[in-house]
Symmetry: C2
Subunit: 447 residues, 2 copies
Amino acid sequence: MCQNSISQVLLTLLILCGLLQCDSRPHSYDSKPLSEISKEVSKYSDIAHQIINLAVYGKAQNRSDERLAEFTDTIGNRVSGSKNLDLNVHLELVKIPHWVRGEESAVMLLPRNHTLAILGLGSSVGTPPGGIEAEAMVVESFEELKKRASEAKGKIVVYNQPFVSYGETVTYRASGASEAAKVGAVASLHPHTGWQWYQPGVAQIPTACITVEDAQMMARMACRGQRIVVRLTMRDQTLPDVDSYNTLAEITGSEHPEQVVLLSGHLDSWDMGQGAMDDGGGVTISWEALSLIRDLGLRPKRTLRTVLWSAEEPGGVGAAQYFQQHKANISNFNLVMESDLGTFSPLGLQFTGSDEARAIMKEVMKLLATINVTSLEEHGEGTDVNSVHYVFFPGASLHTADQRYFWFHHSDSDTMSVQNPEEMNLCSTVWAVVAYVVTDLDGMLTR
Amino acid sequence: MCQNSISQVLLTLLILCGLLQCDSRPHSYDSKPLSEISKEVSKYSDIAHQIINLAVYGKAQNRSDERLAEFTDTIGNRVSGSKNLDLNVHLELVKIPHWVRGEESAVMLLPRNHTLAILGLGSSVGTPPGGIEAEAMVVESFEELKKRASEAKGKIVVYNQPFVSYGETVTYRASGASEAAKVGAVASLHPHTGWQWYQPGVAQIPTACITVEDAQMMARMACRGQRIVVRLTMRDQTLPDVDSYNTLAEITGSEHPEQVVLLSGHLDSWDMGQGAMDDGGGVTISWEALSLIRDLGLRPKRTLRTVLWSAEEPGGVGAAQYFQQHKANISNFNLVMESDLGTFSPLGLQFTGSDEARAIMKEVMKLLATINVTSLEEHGEGTDVNSVHYVFFPGASLHTADQRYFWFHHSDSDTMSVQNPEEMNLCSTVWAVVAYVVTDLDGMLTR
């Protein structure tokens, strides 16, 4: 039930920390036939079972959940630029944006007085002190906005776009403000929150998230021919960039310390809820995997490094700088793993890399048959890691039963109540087994 | 898409209104054999299909959803005592409580500063202007509170009870404050919102709803031995009772106008969201059922009356006064129907009454075979109607696929986005067919 204090936990993390050494050339599998690799991988089944037993049934059972609970209960959310983000072990300096949410409010004045729940989008400019009062123009898509461009001047554009998929729908969050500004709108509102990006050379207008319910209600009102007037007040501002840190911990390799397998999640969160799911879960299993391997007294041939990224929410800022700082050693990055889509029941591993590397990873996944997580899928670029040129190294992302992810994403309900200890045990296991085996195999994954 | 203005809709309601006449004695089925009743009911299959065609496929398709959308979009929520509740047709005067939510806030000061999202419970007293600052005592149940009674003096009791069922769990909302006051607590918090009742002779302490997430977090902190201190400020107050109205509409019976079948839902709501689900849906289908019957030019032998209750949320206040006002005619109430658990996909009808009456209702439900809603279940006492002595008349409640009901209940997410037009078409159909047939059968349901 109750567990170590956060200080002990952070101490553990410190103890794990080692130094990065970079020399010699990587030794690759380019030549070795798959049958031999398969034999080599199968030798790890005992170790895989030790990890499974320790994490799922043994003394490490529920530890990742307890660590995450204590972490989020003690620190809360960790938005970029806030002190909370820096309440952690610091290793590698990065510069990150510092946008500050001010007082935010919106009231629908016509056709009836109704307070709109809003949340400014990250990097949004503020309104004048008195706010902006304007007629709302409701559209379902960018296409409709373009068609009705002549109506948009001086209006507050309300996007009532249906949720199709994150990839498609997030574009309304990312560039809804700039698209509205291009046709003369003075502000934009839409039902999805997080960071947004102003397009160069386009007027910067305030932009905020509203509820799905209010977006749909305003769409119904517009459909009835009712005039909708909204007053939007936002005191948000962007301050100068601040120092932050990517947090590193590693088990230095016994034979090829310069060759690295990287386990990662992002330590920052959005400023709603506790960031337990996004990405406290990914951070915790990336850290737990190291603990499991250490608990079993294992030391892989290569260096297994956990990196807890800073400033993912503003667009993979911490990760981009990390890979910039380490580009001299990029050829020694064997596999970069990231978990940033929740730590629900693991379904498999998403992988991006050469066919030869994929064949090896398939063998590795077979070691997880007893917990029924053997599937190797496409698209292993995590949200952090895909912010750098992916071609440089193979990548893997944890795929979990994430149907509920966007129920909680960037909202006050992203808390421990989303998490499940048994699910985290399984995620930690997958993370530890895959990471250890790939880090200890004779050869590097083929590029 | 777009439809009549609310004024036209209210006009429709007014036109439907008739006068109640009370004379002669009810004529019952006590003697008639079921085989004959079955034959009689089956004669209604044409009318049942006309109603189904009109509501599900015909020109009335989606009308209930559109009416509800316009109603909630235009009026918003309708908490008892507020002006919004009275923006409707008024017929029968009732006195209802007038509790007013003031500024409410809560901050956890220890072990870390964290703003708690709270919502005062209906009828809660306020705190002193400066608020109450006290240590929190977290319990999982009333049993634990009694066991640890000696620790409670001067504390803010935080209930972290698991949700078992509404019936069981609502007791923490209804009497959590009084139970805490009995052991010397100065306030109580727990994760469920709505009205609460102070027990006579027990000190009245402020009580509010917190989130499940915060209740669980405080439980984890207590489990770690951390001292939790909360400052609670509530400016809520109870004003003198106010006049309100039960809203009536009816089709007066052609042969036995004094004999009544009653269709109902409650017009008031909680003050979060729009009250679209609780109980805008029940109100709308109870009104739509009358419209469907009128559209088909049908006039039943008995009076079919729709009553939209006032002040259900404070405990069936409007309904209790209605039945008090009409007790002289209670023997003429043939069936009282209520929908107050959502208008999701209809699964069947819950019924309370004599075995003879149940046998008749089973026959009536067979008329709904083509929309696959034939099940007749136990427990037909609605939340309003069970507030009077149920033995007086048979009762029926609409049973729908309400698994998601408590996701939205009494929260800002109780809006039109919960509703589905096709589901409402089906609910209106069930409501109209059952109401019409029972109102038009030769005899009254056997008591």
